[in-house]
């Protein structure tokens, strides 16, 4: 477990106990035993930290020395106006940034103290530990619901027995809060679900490879309020089981789901940087920076 040395907010460590206390209260179903290799619910959780991360697309600098600790087992929200680099930052965390032509990077991204950009480290291995949910639900259209959930195993080349696979599908769907809605039609195509269900299917798909971290890039921006609430409930249930980093444009959502919050801002000629980061209550209640205060109170952005 990383001791996330965050400069201004010493709040790591509180999270795990806190989250576990909350968990039974939420209306989760009793979970079946986790498949082998899965991250045990109360076991060591991995935190994520970046040090002086700067990013470029070609010659255009989009991020300037972003340092942030994302405490283990907690939900960290990244907020800020469009174009401030928060999505780029999120994609840097699991090495999706380098998929873009001309992308460049400086700084360190530490997963349990180990740089994910260390030379020789394979991106596929990093991405398996740091899952990602995208803005628009993107289930694989050629696969059924259960194949979608188990697709991570196939893509990683992991062979499991049929029973293990079945267990994994059920566990992942339960953790994503989708099991009760789809368990009678696991063989039907994933594309036939509603938008909110598709997004939770994508969450289940990410959870099936038992990642330590789950990144969510505006997971609710394409969803209606009811589906948004279900996804938020899912996030609340996952809290304490793994570390979540979520990008959102919705202030209320950031307030509801996150414990830590970071405010990004970019102007015309300066790349995006963190203006203020800290406990969510503090960012929304008594921000230190005037710009944060303006943004969270809806005065700009």
């Amino acid at each position: 477990m990383t001791d996330a040395p965050m400069t201004d907010t010493p709040m790591t460590g509180v999270a795990t106990a806190d989250a576990l206390a909350i968990d039974p209260a939420a209306d989760t179903l009793t979970l079946p035993p986790l498949p082998p290799g899965a991250h045990p619910g109360g076991g060591p959780l991995a935190g994520l930290e970046t040090r002086d991360v700067s990013a470029w697309f070609g010659t255009h600098k989009v991020l300037e020395r972003v340092s942030l600790a994302m405490p283990a087992g907690e939900v960290t929200a990244l907020i800020g106006p469009s174009g401030c680099g928060k999505s780029t930052y999120l994609r840097i965390l699991n090495r999706m940034h380098e998929m873009v032509r001309g992308a460049a990077l400086a700084g360190e991204v530490l997963l349990e103290g180990d740089d994910v950009y260390r030379p020789g480290r394979r991106p596929a291995e990093v991405r398996r530990r740091i899952g990602m949910v995208f803005q628009r639900p993107n289930p694989f259209p050629a696969m059924s619901i259960q194949d979608n959930v188990a697709s991570g195993l196939k893509l990683a080349g992991i062979k499991v027995s049929k029973d293990e696979r079945q267990d994994l599908v059920e566990t992942s769907l339960r953790r994503a809060g989708l099991w009760d809605e789809v368990h009678t039609r696991l063989h039907t195509p994933g594309g036939a679900l509603s938008g909110g269900q598709q997004q939770r299917l994508c969450i289940a798909r990410s959870l099936a490879v038992s990642p330590d971290i789950l990144l969510m890039d505006e997971p609710c921006s394409a969803l209606d309020p009811t589906s948004t609430r279900r996804v938020e409930e899912t996030i609340a249930e996952l809290r304490g089981r793994l570390t979540i980093v979520i990008v959102t444009h919705n202030m209320q959502q950031a307030q509801r789901v996150s414990q830590t919050c970071a405010f990004f801002l970019a102007t015309h000629d300066t790349p995006g940087r963190i203006v203020e980061a800290g406990p969510t209550a503090q960012i929304f209640g008594s921000p230190r920076d005037q710009r944060t205060s303006d943004y969270v109170n809806g005065r700009f952005g």
């Binding site: 699991n94 398996r128 694989f140 050629a142 194949d147 893509l155 990683a156 063989h187 039907t188 994933g190």
Partner: protein, 431 residues
């Protein structure tokens, strides 16, 4: 004008004794006279009469000009002149009743309609002609069960047939498909997924190859494979020539459909820790599968009818030869080419019957390919659907059986169906 079926809201008395929404309201509020429905859009009687009038008028004028006034003759010229006069007549008739823009609009509509009809008529004519000429020989079973070994020039139609050509065509096409499809799809994957600096020249080359004259493909195999390497003319050599013809078509079509696979799916796959090849294999290709099937069918349809590459490479024989690797092997196009130029009516009839067979073969190929792989991504096969129905029914039955014993219903239903899905056997293509 649209007519609404709803009764006017104002007709129901507000605060009256009948609550709104009860059965009596519509009866009260129903309009006294029945409303007439007006059909919107579509063709009016006026349009039909204008077209018919122009047709008849131009026919009469054309007959007069063609048969009585001008020194022309011949059916083809008659039809062309009739059509041109029809357009002129339609323009004139339209001008009498409509404005200039409207007439121009109608004229274009009529012209596009008639060219569409022309294409359909040509296809029907072509198929009908071959079918009617080919029926003479194809009605006898021996055409499909015998070859031409024992058949002399003047033998009756009840002897000899095209079995050797049918077998040869199928084998050559099968081999060519076996070579062209993996190569073509691999090339398409290279261009769309791997890319890089070489992708553009490869694409240009493939595009140039789609326009390759088929005789050149035959010459290439003849020069390299048969003359230089010294292999004999055989069905295998012919299939190589067909591969040269089919591969660029498969490649082009496959690249187009692979490009249509949304990038978000690739991202999702990479975000799950998939490598590039696993992404291509597990996500991109299955998603593009219906389009890939179309690509394969396009290539096969091109290959099965090619004559000139086969002409140079397979060698003609009237013998039955099922071995594509040795000796000459005839195929349907070559069979047609050889017999249709002979001066004996029975031989020509056999050639037409072979043409009919070739068309039916292409039709069968299309249908088979559609059935095999033409489902939309994620759509279930009939077997999968049946199985799901069966599971649902058994789960329901189990739930019903368990209900009287006092168990809580939802829980029972869940366990039953969970059990059903746990015992499900994964089908090929589903795992």
């Amino acid at each position: 004008m649209t007519t609404l079926d709803l009764p006017p809201v104002a007709a129901s008395e507000p605060g009256g004794p009948t609550p709104p929404g009860s059965a009596e309201v519509p009866a009260e509020a129903a309009p006294p006279r029945s409303q007439t429905k007006v059909r919107l859009g579509g063709v009016t009687r006026e349009d039909v009469f204008t077209v018919a009038g122009a047709l008849v008028g131009s026919l009469a004028l054309n007959w007069l000009l063609y048969e009585r006034v001008l020194p022309f003759s011949g059916a083809f010229g008659f039809l062309v002149c009739w059509y041109l006069l029809f357009l002129a007549g339609y323009f004139a008739l339209g001008r009498l009743q409509w404005g200039k823009l409207m007439v121009r609009d109608r004229l274009v509509a009529v012209a596009s309609w008639s060219s569409g009809l022309l294409v359909v008529a040509l296809i029907v004519d072509q198929i009908g002609y071959v079918a009617s000429r080919g029926y003479e020989a194809a009605q006898h079973v021996n055409f499909f069960t015998e070859s031409m070994e024992q058949t002399a020039a003047l033998s009756p139609i009840t002897s000899g047939g095209a079995l050797n050509a049918i077998v040869g065509s199928l084998e050559q096409l099968g081999l060519a498909t076996l070579f062209a499809v993996p190569l073509g799809i691999a090339a398409a994957i290279f261009m769309s997924e791997v890319g890089g600096r070489l992708a553009r020249p490869v694409r240009t080359l493939v595009e140039a190859m789609t326009a390759l004259p088929s005789i050149v493909a035959g010459l290439f195999i003849l020069g390299v494979f048969i003359i230089t390497f010294g292999f004999e003319k055989s069905g295998f050599a012919a299939s190589l020539a067909l591969t040269v013809m089919m591969m660029p078509i498969v490649t082009r079509a496959a690249e187009v459909v692979i490009r249509l696979v949304p990038g978000t799916l690739r991202e999702a796959s990479y975000a799950l820790g998939g490598s590039q090849w696993r992404t291509v294999w597990n996500v991109v290709l299955p998603t593009a599968r219906p389009g890939l099937v179309t690509a394969v069918v396009l290539g096969m349809a091109r290959g099965v009818g090619e004559t000139s590459p086969v002409l140079l490479t397979s060698g003609f024989t009237s013998q039955f030869n099922a071995d594509p690797f040795h000796e000459h092997q005839v195929s349907l196009p070559l069979y047609i080419w050889n017999y249709v130029k002979q001066p004996y009516p029975e031989m020509v009839a056999r050639a037409f019957a072979a043409g009919l067979t070739l068309m039916v073969l292409v039709l069968i190929l299309f249908v088979t390919a559609r059935v095999l792989g033409g489902r939309k991504p994620g759509e279930l096969t009939r077997r999968q659907k049946r199985r799901i129905d069966r599971e649902a029914r058994s789960a329901e039955a189990a739930a019903r059986a368990a209900r009287p014993s006092g168990t809580v219903r939802p829980a029972t239903a869940r366990t039953a169906s969970a059990h059903a899905s746990a015992t499900a056997v994964p089908l090929p293509g589903n795992s």
